[in-house]
Each structure stands twice: as structure tokens, then as C-alpha cells.
Amino acid sequence: MKLAYSSKALREVFGETLVELGGNHKRLLVLDADLNTSSRTVLFKQKYPDRFIQCGIAEANLFGVAAGLAAQGYTPFPSTFAAFATRKALDQVYVNIAYPNLDVKIAGSYCGMTATECGPSHNCAEDLAVMRSLPHLKVLDPGDNRELRAMMHAMMAKPGPVYFRVSKVNAPELFGADHSFEFGRGHLLRPGNDVTLVGTGFMTAVALGAATLLDREGISAAVVHMPSIKPIDEDLLVQQARATGALVTIENHRVFGGLGGAVSEVLAREYPVHIEMLGLSDTVFEAAPLADLLRHYQLTPRAMCEKARALVQRKRRASAA
């Protein structure tokens, strides 16, 4: 399957969709921590300067203020790098937003390895794990531009706290114009019998590439895209576990507590099968351009193909024994 890649980065769609939603939702506010031209909330600032609040380089305050505004009836979108929204302001996000279940939509930009040259202080391989463990908070990682837009429309229609990932990556066009987003729903992008590859965010593009490589070797790989990590599509995971007996996950995140963790939690309980996880191991995303990072940390179609092939062999050996 040959994918076209968008010439527009996900963060641009984030900024444009804020502007679009801001037209219909007069109580939508955007809060920034001195990063608006990077996150692209600058587009909203230009269109609705009165509803754009600059909080300065003060993330604990940013999320506290967002919570207060939500309690006052607004829907704030506080935005900063994923690293700062999660590692830096976790207490405010937990105590002031998640636990009282306030209507705050947290955009974590430059997620995973996509702060690239900024290095380990700005790259954030733990946001999914951290945010997934908080009460009430929904956790999302969009696969393409249309999905990000649909996701933002869906979160405006449903009050409550959400954490969603944004990046400067040019994503592949996975979905058509009619694509819709539902919390807790995943998508079977490609059927297959031997193994299921599960991706989230733009890493689903790598899973699709790996499926093509496996196909050349005669291994039939299904591909699932999981934009909603919490809640997660349990039915789809169980269905694929039954059908293929082996799953390989891939994420722009450490292999602790993210997509791989969420998938394993469901299947360990509902239908245990062979699982492998691709992501960052017990280390950090160093400073380097994106392509170098993907290759260095073995987050490529080739690497995923090799993991999947080994897993299929293990599954076959186990069933023969």
C-alpha cells in the first residue's frame, strides 16, 4: 500500500482546527507558554487575540489557570511541549484538572522523539504512560491530519479532560475525507492472518510499511491503528488476538506504559497471546534529526518486520510443541 504524505505538518492542522472550532465555540480559549509559533497556536492568537492567553514560561501556573478557567465555564486548550505538560505540570494536571474532571483539552506538542535536536529534556517518551495513569483523562495520538481534526471536533462535543499529541511531523494520509473519530475505537487498516501490527500516531505508517515487507516474505500481517489509547478498543484487540495469535505494537514512546502497555493489559486479562513491543527501551531520545532517531532506535519498517517475523516463528514453534 503506497501512502501519500501530507505536505502539511500535524501541528499546522492543530492550529487551523483551533481557529475553526473557535468560530463556533465562543468559550474556547487557548493558553500558551511562550511556544505559540512552534505549537502553531499562533494561528488562533492571530484570529482571536481576545481568547488567547499568554502564560509565559510557567507551566505549573499554565495548567492551574486552565483549570480555573474551566471551572468558570470555559473550554481551555493549554498547550506546551508534551515534556512540560506531563513531566513538569503533572501535579496541576492531576489535582486541578483530571481528578475534578474539568473540561480542559491538553495539547502535548513535540511529543515522543519529535522535539528531535532539542534532546532528552524536550523529547518526551513517557507522556502516554503518565497521562494514561491519571483518572478521567482520555489519551489520544492521531495518525494523520484528518484524524487530528476529527479528534478535536469530537473532544469539543464531549466535556471532560483530554490529553492529545501533536507534532511537527508530516504524516501519511491514512484516511479519507469521511473519516470519523470515536473515543475508544480503533481501525483495522489491513486484514491479515499471521500477526497483527498495532500502531498509534504517525508510527502506524511504519507498521503499514512493515506489513508490506512481511507480505513479500509470505507472512500475512494485519494492521490496526489505535488513535485512542485510553479508552482503548478492547473488542478489536481481542478479535485480532483470536484471529492472529500474535501482536506487535509500535509507538513513538518508551515501551513502558504506553500503547504496548495498554494492549498488554487488555490481552493479559481477556485473551493472552504472543506480544512484542517496539518503542524506546530504558533510555532517552537523544538529540538528532527525526530520520536519524527513527533509524537509531530501530523504529523502521525493516526493524518491525524482523520483530514480527521472529514472533510468528515463536508462535508456530509454540503451537507445534
Partner: protein, 309 residues
Amino acid sequence: MKHLSPDKERILAGKAFDIRRLCLEFITCAGWGHIGGSFSEAELLACLYGGVMNIEPRTVDDPSRDRFILSKAHASPALYAILALEGFISEDRLFTYCRLEGLDGHTQRGQCPGIEYSGGSLGTGLSYATGLALGLRLQENFASRVYCLIGDGECNEGQVWEAAMSAAHYRLDNLIALIDYNKVMAKGKVSDLLAIEPLAQKFASFGWSVIECDGHDLADAWRAFYQAKYLEMKGRPVAIIAHTVKGRGLPEAEFNYHWHTHAPSVAQAENFLIELNRTYERNGRFSRPLSSPKDAGLEDVVSADLNPA
């Protein structure tokens, strides 16, 4: 020494110039980097490593050395450059900036000699420096001082003021905070985004001695350091508020937040070198031919595997 001699001033001016020239070179080659905040701190680093601090390559692990913490760790290029100029690391190492196995975009503790602190999350350096200063005192090391360089926008962070409160409470007169007051943050002017004035009164009211200086005037900066080390009241930490210009030395970059995080093209870098030479009346040359990195993304990685050459 109390006053900066004309000879010494010439040497430090040369170092400040070379910091800028080297930053221009390796930021261009990396295709990424922070020029604005590196250029605003160049004279301060030239003073610190040119005689204010008790540290040199041979004493980089000596317990009695002075410690330097770059809390505004995005401005690491100027620090890497002065470490190369002073012989802590090689100049070649600078050209690994933002490459795998190379120097990080923000400082990483222990990554190369002279880097004491992992930074990049703003507002955390002064607490770390407070811990170092407290530790030195507990160990009865009265020879070493801790210098912590903070950005002005960074003073938005509440943690800076938690640290300021602590350092005064513990009477850490072995701690000197330097504020690179270049008036511009990542996306605009400090006074527009989140005002920090009156900054001197803030530190003073937290129990610090406060000294102000022109951070680009080497003699004035030197005077401020001398005063901080020897003349201030015992039992108080000292804040030096250095008034600086973001991007100082390049007319296009001065006070221009566009150059907070931005790398020049090779052609731009060549023009910038001409401007630097004009500003500082020098005849500096690049140490090597420059090249910009190729821009590769997700699509390139996926298609390389699917369609191997």
C-alpha cells in the same frame, strides 16, 4: 584582580568574538540551534572562563573548582564554544552538536568535560545550584563558588523564586546567580509575554545582594563579578543582573525572537560572519567549509525500507 587590564580586556574580547564565530559555524552545520541566547551571554562566559572562575581543563574534576550551571541550557552553543576555546574539549567536538552520540542541544551532565548539569527544562538550574552550594558548605569547602546563569524569560518559572527563597534562607554566600537580561523570550518580548519587572527589587526583597551591569561591556561585567566575589555582605547570595542584547553582534538577530531557535543557511552564515567582523572590527574566518544537513523525515525512512536502492 579588581580592574580589567587593557591587555586582558583584549583577550576576553577575542574570546567573546570567537564564541560567536564558532557558534555560527556549528549551528549552521547542525541546521538547528539557539543563536540569540548564545550571543547575549558571550561576554559573560568569556569573563567566567577567562579568570572569574577557578576552573580549567586540568581541574575540571577537582573538588575545589568553581561550578558553572547553565540553567538556560538551550544557550549551550556558547558554553560548548568557550569550553573548546579553553581546551576542555576539541573544536571538532563542536561539530557533533545535535548529532547522535554528539553534543546535546541542551546540556547533559557528564556528556563532556565541564558540563555539570542536565538542563533544558527551564527554571530548574537555580535549585540545582542551591543544592551544590549547600553541599559545598556541608563539606566545609569554602574555596568553591557556584555560578548559575539564568535567562530572563526563565524568571517566569515559579521554581526560580522557590530557589531564590531557599538560597537566601540558607545564607548561601557561595552562590552567584547571573541573569542574562536580553529582554526577549522565544516568541516575543519579556515585557509583552509575562513581565518580570521590577527584577532587581524582586531579588533584593528575597534577601539577595543585587548588582547590575552591562553584560556586553567586559570591564563593567568584570567589575560586577569582582564585587560579587569580594565586596558583598557575607551571608547573602548575589544576583548579577547583566543587561544584554539577544543576538548581540548580528544586526538582523538583535532583539529578534525569530533567531531564538533558528539556524542560518550557509549563505546567511557567510553574510553573518561579515557582519560580525564589521561589528567587532575583526577579520575572523570560518575554521572549515560549512554545509547544511539534508532534511529527512518519516516518509524518507519508510520509503528507504520499502524501496531499497
